[in-house]
């Protein structure tokens, strides 16, 4: 090995950037992942520029133009109140992204924290945390989310809270498994040997090692969050009308489905595309971040 063969990173930041660039290249090398990334990028772009992209006000009713088929004026047709489906779809991306982001931000740290602590300390702490997780896991997540929303009252914020409460146990399980395989590793003992406290070992040594698999799981989780949010919306417990949430759009269009297929098809396709994209991205991240698979 010659010293010149290794491009010496000048600082931690540059090293990190080079690393991130390599990961990104690996991600995009897979065509399916690239499709997923593209769809999600589109979603984010549409959400950011929704008012400029939308052709109509998503909330304005025009009863004389109700249930019109797709045309030049209304690209995806109109719904029962004459609202433009395309514009509603565009504004709906904001709600979907809001739910996905908020749930992920809550669930990631929560699940990882509980999992790492439970795996590292083991014993009674582990039993306690995992039995609570078992209770949550033993219910189908939509049913549990329904119960939470029923108790809290319908609404977007409560839907987020309910989904977050049902989504943390799998993350915690994963982080716990990683922490358990690592807690007796020599380098953890070596850190303790240097006098590191439990908190330091957990935060600086264990958490970074659990991060890749948790990240992958979180991304895959986003797909099910989209579905659950749409499900809650469909059942009338998520976003409340007149908010253009995709699930509630399907629910409203369901009555006219046979004659006016576009009221259901457009939001349905959007839900399908987005949840599929998150799944593809999660798969790609799994391949890109797993050091055991890289050649």
């Amino acid at each position: 090995m010659t010293t010149s063969a290794l491009p010496a990173p000048v600082g931690v930041f540059q090293a990190w950037r080079a690393d991130a660039a390599a990961t990104a290249r690996k991600l995009l090398a897979n065509p399916l992942t690239a499709v997923g990334v593209a769809v999600i990028a589109l979603l984010v772009g549409v959400a950011l520029f929704a008012p400029w992209i939308a052709t109509h006000d998503p909330l304005r009713q025009q009863l004389d133009a109700a249930l019109q088929p797709p045309s030049g004026a209304h690209w995806f047709g109109t719904d029962e109140f004459g609202r433009d489906v395309f514009s509603r779809l565009v504004h709906g991306t904001r709600i979907t992204l809001f739910i996905v982001t908020l749930v992920t931000v809550v669930v990631g740290p929560l699940g990882m924290g509980i999992g790492v602590v439970s795996g590292y300390f083991g014993g009674r702490v582990d039993v306690l945390c995992m039995r609570v997780a078992d209770v949550f896991l033993s219910f189908p997540s939509l049913v549990l989310a329904l119960a939470f929303v029923a108790a809290l009252g319908p609404g977007l914020d409560h839907a987020v809270l309910a989904i977050a409460l049902t989504a943390w146990p799998p993350i915690a399980r994963l982080a716990r498994a990683e922490a358990m395989t690592l807690r007796n590793a020599d380098f953890i003992v070596a850190a303790q040997l240097q006098g590191a406290s439990h908190l330091r070992v957990l935060w600086r040594h264990l958490a970074p090692l659990c991060l890749p698999s948790v990240l992958v799981r979180l991304t895959m989780n986003m797909a099910s969050v989209v579905l659950t949010a749409a499900g809650l919306g469909f059942l009338g417990l998520g976003a409340q009308p007149p908010l253009p949430e995709w699930g509630s759009m399907i629910s409203e269009g369901r009555r006219y489905m046979l004659d006016s297929w576009w009221t259901v098809a457009a939001p349905g396709a959007a839900i399908l595309a987005v949840s599929m994209a998150f799944n593809l991205l999660g798969d790609g991240l799994n391949d890109a971040l797993d050091p055991r698979q890289s050649s």
Binding site: T3, L6, A8, P9, V10, G11, V12, A15, G122, G123, N184, A185, D186, F187, I188, V189, A190, A191, Q192, L193, Q194, G195, A196, S197, R200, R204, H205, P208, L209
Partner: protein, 276 residues
């Protein structure tokens, strides 16, 4: 303070489950180089880790007396031990491949130890890390500090471990085969460095090894372990005149440059050794 030795161990027992694997190990350690030798699985490393209470949690440690600088280690809680570890009691672990965190750069891992010894600014800390790396004879410390453990060789990893230990200037160092991964020239440097520390800082060194020749020349006293027991304690210079048959057997199994021997003798074990 000078009258009583730094570390007193009497009747140390370590057990996993019902059967103890270290039986009644006793020794004292002052400011000297004490070697622990014995074959694989004789409990050398377990004794070393037991002193720091760094064994897996199912291990039970018992002793009649376990004293470090007037402190009773048996009574010390996890918090007290954490305060002692690194600052006053330290250890160089056997295998650098497993003892360095794979996702942290070497510089950052040493910096953790440096920051614990004294709060320094970022620049000062980096400087100190580089000084420490240079001290263990690593060329181009800047580059090595930015590298990750898988990018350096075993010998360099071993020296990184030593640099981490040096950051906090402990009083007692347990070196668990610190030179087994090193080539001969680097080994001499590392031994020289340890020697310096003992001479200059009055470091007490517990040197775990299975290299009898090395121990004979490097250490002051030798503790010979077999099956979790200390079978013999003697001055290093007296190794050729050891009395216990196990030690004699080990010595006899060493090849020699001066005397040509057709067949090296194989150690003949005696059940009585582990019952004693």
């Amino acid at each position: 303070m000078t009258a009583s030795p730094l570390l007193q161990v009497q009747g140390l027992q370590v057990a996993y489950g019902p059967t103890p694997i270290v039986h009644g190990v006793s020794f004292t350690l002052g400011r000297e180089k004490l070697a622990v030798v014995g074959e694989s699985g004789s409990g050398k490393t377990t004794v070393g880790r037991a002193l720091l209470k760094l064994l897996p949690r199912q291990a039970r440690i018992g002793a009649e007396r376990l004293q470090f600088d007037g402190m009773d280690l048996l009574q010390a809680g996890e918090r007290d031990m954490a305060a002692l570890r690194g600052r006053r009691l330290s250890m160089i672990m056997q295998d650098p491949k497993y003892s360095l965190n794979p996702v942290m750069s070497i510089g950052r891992q040493i910096a953790e130890a440096v920051q614990r010894a004294a709060k320094l600014s970022h620049a000062e800390c980096n400087e100190r890390v580089e000084t420490l790396l240079a001290r263990v004879h690593i060329r181009d410390p800047k580059r090595v500090a930015a590298q990750y453990p898988h990018e350096v060789s075993g010998g360099m990893g071993q020296r990184v471990m030593i640099a981490m230990m040096l950051a906090q200037r402990p009083q007692l160092l347990i070196a668990d085969e610190p030179t087994s991964a090193l080539d001969v020239s680097v080994r001499q440097e590392v031994l020289h460095l340890l020697d310096e520390l003992v001479a200059e800082q009055g470091l007490a060194l517990l040197f775990i090894s299975h290299d009898l020749n090395l121990v004979r020349h490097f250490c002051d006293r030798v503790l010979v372990m077999y099956a979790g027991r200390v079978v013999e304690t003697l001055a290093a210079a007296d190794l050729p005149r050891a009395e216990h048959p196990y030690t004699r057997g080990l010595m006899a199994a060493l090849p020699s440059l001066r005397q040509r021997r057709a067949v090296l003798p194989v150690l003949q074990r005696d059940a009585a050794w582990s019952a004693a």
